[in-house]
């Protein structure tokens, strides 16, 4: 079980992913924007994994959020999701994986499961891309 922060401005998609992950016994926190995510990450709550949409309104998007996390919590795994296809510039982003919407919930949770045991010591690594 991990504490997962799900960041998405689409309330239905956020709800569906959070519901799925809770069924997998994860403790899920929900944020409707990168700004809300920053508030949560700045709190006393310890987050193990962040799953964030890229395109979001507010002062920063998901890429900016990933960059912020890389600076303040480099060991925290970040998974990007987007309705747009993977682009090469994402390969250099400070993220663990990329899933294109509509993503397969089971595949995403399977990938999260691979992060959970070693999430506290995950170094920056090659990005995994899933565009199904």
């Amino acid at each position: 079980m991990a504490r997962i922060l799900v960041v998405d401005d689409d309330v239905i998609l956020r709800y569906l992913l959070a519901k799925w992950l809770r069924r997998k016994d994860h403790d899920v926190l929900e944020a409707a924007s990168a700004d809300e995510a920053i508030v949560i990450l700045s709190s006393v709550l310890a987050v193990d994994i962040v799953v964030t949409d890229i395109e979001m309104p507010g002062s920063m998007n998901g890429m900016d959020l990933a960059d912020h996390i890389q600076k303040v919590s480099p060991a925290l795994p970040v998974i990007l999701v987007s309705g747009r296809p993977f682009v090469e510039k994402l390969r250099s982003a400070a993220v663990s994986a990329f899933f294109q919407k509509p993503y397969h919930l089971q595949r995403l949770s399977d990938y999260i499961a691979t992060l959970v045991p070693q999430s506290e010591a995950i170094p920056q690594k090659r990005i995994q891309v899933s565009d199904e």
């Binding site: 309330v11 239905i12 956020r14 709800y15 959070a18 926190l29 929900e30 944020a31 409707a32 924007s33 809300e36 508030v39 949560i40 709190s43």
Partner: protein, 134 residues
Amino acid sequence: MNNTGAASSADTVLVAESDVMLRLAIAGYLRHCGYHVIEAALVEEAMAVLDATPEIAVEIVFSAVELNGSMDGFRLARWVRAHRSGLEVVLAGSVVKAANEAVELCEEGPHLKKPYEPQQVVEWIKKLRNLKPG
């Protein structure tokens, strides 16, 4: 709803609150009490969830009075009454805001005054569910 404080599997609460830490806390508490909780940060998100019926079936709307978006919690409550008449609405907000707005909305003011104890929310939801026929 039973009398032990635990929710039945059918009890789904839509929590509309723009303060993320407050929303997180109250949603977490309600889940701990056995409720199925959907979180909305904006009034537009709350309406999107309610528009997703019947795929997402909400029984109770718990909304802050001061809510980010195109309308506040009072207007959301009015919208719910007009478009989702079967739903119960619990509002939480300041007394001043409530006094200014409650008359316009209906004879009832908000049920909860901030800051409130999470258990108060559960008690209100239990009360509303017990009042509901069937």
